[in-house]
Symmetry: C2
Subunit: 198 residues, 2 copies
C-alpha cells in the first residue's frame, strides 16, 4: 500500500492516479477526511511507502505530528521551498532541506527525497508519458531502492541516485529553475541526466 | 574573440580547445602571464565575450579587479559554490549567486550565468561529444542570446533559457548534485531538459 499525505493537491491527485495505473493500491490522506480521503495518520499507518506532498511551510509540523505513524516507513519527501514574488518563481531554502527537516521531525522515518523535477501539472494528466528521470537522495539505501523501483515504473527515464539526504538541498531548489523554464517555454519541463552508464 | 579568465584549469583548457574547434579565436588570461597566457585584464579587453572560470572564493575580488576591463562585455559566469567535506561534494551558497556577485562587483558587465552542469572533465576531452544541454540565466536578453549561440555549437543539446540572473542561485548549486552523481556512477554526468517545444 502506498499512502499520500496531502493528496488533494495537483501533485497528489496525479500521483495517485498514476500509481493506480501501475497496479499499486493507494490511500490518500487529508486534514479533512471525507469521501475517498482518510486521515493523514491513517494513510501513513496503512502504508509501507508514504509520499509527503505538503506545502513547504507545513512540512515541519506535519512530519512532527505524524512522527509515530511514519516510524519505520519509507517516506518520500517531494516538497520544495518554492516562493513566488511578483509572479516569478524562486526558492527560499533554509539551512536544511525540507527532506532533512522531515527526517529531524520524524527521526524513525526512512526519508528519501525525490520527484522535485516532476511537474505537478504533467503528473496530473496521467495519459501523458513522463519523458524524464526521477532524481533521488537519501541516507537509507534500501529505502532509496524501494522508491527507485516505484519511480522507474512511473517515468520513461530512470531513477538517478544523487547520493545522501543532504543532496536534497540542491534538488529541492531545482524546482525553482524548472518553474522558470515552464513559464518561459509554456511547458511542463523535466530533467534527464546524461552520461550515465547503461 | 572569446576570452577565458582563469583558463589554466581543466574547465578553461577544455573550453578553449572546444571553442577553437568551432572556429572561435580564443585568448586565455592568467594571474601569471606566460607562454600562451596573457594577463586576465588583456584577455578581457581583447574579447567580446569573456568566460569567468575562477574558483568560487575568488569570484568577487576578480570581478571587482576586472570591472573596467569587463565593462560592456558579455561575461559568462560558470563558477559554482562547491565545497568538499570528507571527500563529498556539497554546495555552500551565500545569499547571492556568484553570478549575481559578479554583476554587483562589475556592474557594467553583461553577466550571463551558465555551463554549471557541464563537467570540467568531460569538457577537457574535446573528442567526446557533449550529450547535454547548457542552462543559462541572465537579465540581459541580448547577452543571453550571444551565449546561447556559442553554447549550442559546443553541445549536442540546446541552450535552455532558465530566466533572470537570480535563477543562477539554483543553477550554481546544481553542480553539487552532479558531482555526487559522478561519484556514484563513475561518470561525467550532464543535464537535458525534457518537455521543451521543438
Amino acid at each position: 500500500m502506498i499512502g499520500i499525505v496531502g493528496g488533494s493537491g495537483d501533485f497528489g491527485q496525479g500521483l495517485a492516479e498514476r500509481l493506480r495505473r501501475i497496479g499499486e493500491e493507494v490511500v490518500i490522506g487529508s486534514r479533512t477526511p471525507r469521501d475517498e480521503f482518510v486521515s493523514n495518520e491513517e494513510a501513513c499507518v496503512r502504508s509501507d511507502v508514504v509520499f509527503l506532498s505538503v506545502p513547504p511551510g507545513g512540512v515541519a509540523d506535519m512530519a512532527y505530528e505524524l512522527r509515530d505513524a511514519l516510524a519505520g516507513r519509507v517516506v518520500v519527501s517531494v516538497a520544495a521551498p518554492v516562493v513566488f514574488r511578483e509572479g516569478q518563481a524562486g526558492a527560499a531554502p533554509g539551512e536544511l532541506a525540507l527532506a532533512e527537516i522531515t527526517s529531524v521531525a520524524a527521526p524513525e522515518a526512512r526519508v528519501v527525497a525525490g520527484f522535485h523535477t516532476v511537474s505537478a501539472r504533467a503528473l496530473a494528466d496521467p495519459d501523458v508519458p513522463l519523458d524524464e528521470d526521477v532524481l533521488l537522495a537519501g541516507d537509507d539505501a534500501e529505502a532509496k531502492a524501494v522508491v527507485a523501483d516505484i519511480a522507474e515504473r512511473l517515468v520513461e527515464g530512470r531513477a538517478v541516485d544523487c547520493g545522501r539526504l543532504e543532496v536534497s538541498r540542491w534538488l529541492e531548489t531545482l524546482t525553482a529553475v524548472l518553474l522558470n523554464v515552464n513559464r518561459r517555454y509554456k511547458t511542463n519541463a523535466g530533467v534527464r541526466i546524461t552520461g550515465l552508464p547503461e
